[in-house]
């Protein structure tokens, strides 16, 4: 069991670095079916509309990362 800060660090790293999930030991997270990839594109729109502070990565890269994360999770966690 990780503390909340450590859990968020691992989750954040996993979401932003496709292909490195095993190295970051992120499999302590249990992905359930899938993430809402559509919402990533939608939230990019919201970020513009609401003037959200910082977006350090293109949304599509993040969506790809999420998709890979989910794929890896489904394959390894069943």
């Amino acid at each position: 069991m990780f503390e909340l800060a450590e859990l968020q660090s691992r989750c954040s790293a996993a979401l932003q670095n496709p292909g490195t999930y095993e190295q970051t030991d992120v499999m302590d997270l249990t992905p359930v079916q899938c993430f809402r990839l559509e919402s990533i594109a939608r939230s990019d729109h919201l970020a513009d509309a609401f003037g959200q502070t910082r977006v350090d990565h293109p949304g599509r890269d993040l969506a790809t990362g999420l998709a890979n994360f989910v794929r890896l999770g489904v394959l390894t966690k069943g």
């Binding site: 909340l4 079916q33 939230s43 977006v55």
Partner: protein, 223 residues
């Protein structure tokens, strides 16, 4: 004024510029209600524009209490937090999803914004027990109900993912849960969230009419 980007559950400190803009916006529009999502969305300076769930542990409400108090001090009154739709869950959970807003509410005398659509999504994505847990929400803390709809996305293997699209009309299962919420909570202001593909006004009037009939059916007087 319904916030999506404040990240009350973040470990990164709340961006002071972001908070200042919120203060300016509140002074301009003078909202009746300011609400946030009970989630995190950034870590180590990296932002994910999504509503990521907190772990359901005793640590979570303790952690969220301080930023919630700070925002409430800026606002000068309660800023209720909304239950989020979640598409992942962490390996360890020491309590139910609903113990989190409940525990936070007790710590900071905070309110809850009950999104019945998100309850439906989590019940489908995780466990039907979430519906029963939601019934344990303290009625006095619920300040508003949100209605919206999810789109059911089907995959080749037959699995179904409810996506929080806020697009098509409110579905039957969300109306059913709303009926349960009204029976328990009586009247609460209830916006219908519709983000994209906005319909003609008469479609929205139809949705509002359905909500009114539910209130009438429960003999609830609007006040």
């Amino acid at each position: 004024l319904h916030r999506v980007g404040l990240g009350l559950g973040n470990f990164d400190p709340i961006d002071s510029g972001h908070l200042n803009r919120l203060v300016n916006l509140m002074s301009r529009v003078e909202p009746r209600l300011v609400s946030n999502h009970l989630c995190w969305n950034a870590r180590d300076g990296r932002y994910c524009n999504d509503l990521l769930p907190l772990s359901y542990t005793e640590e979570a409400p303790r952690h969220v209490a301080e930023p919630t108090v700070r925002v409430q001090e800026v606002r000068g009154r309660r800023t209720p937090v909304e239950n989020v739709p979640s598409y992942l869950e962490f390996g360890y959970a020491g309590m139910s999803e609903w113990a989190l807003p409940g525990g936070l509410g007790e710590r900071v005398d905070g309110g809850i914004l009950l999104d019945v659509n998100n309850i439906c999504i989590n019940a489908c994505t995780h466990s039907p027990e979430d519906l029963e847990c939601a019934a344990a929400v303290g009625p006095d803390r619920v300040e508003q109900i949100h209605l919206a709809v999810h789109t059911r996305r089907e995959f080749q293997d037959g699995s179904v993912l409810p996506v929080d699209t806020h697009d098509p009309p409110v579905c039957a299962e969300t109306w059913k849960l709303h009926l349960e919420a009204v029976r328990r909570l009586r009247f609460r202001s209830t916006p219908i969230e519709w983000d994209v593909h906005l319909p003609p006004p008469w479609t929205l009037e139809g949705e509002a009419g359905t909500a009114d009939r539910i209130l009438e059916g429960c003999h609830v007087r609007v006040g």
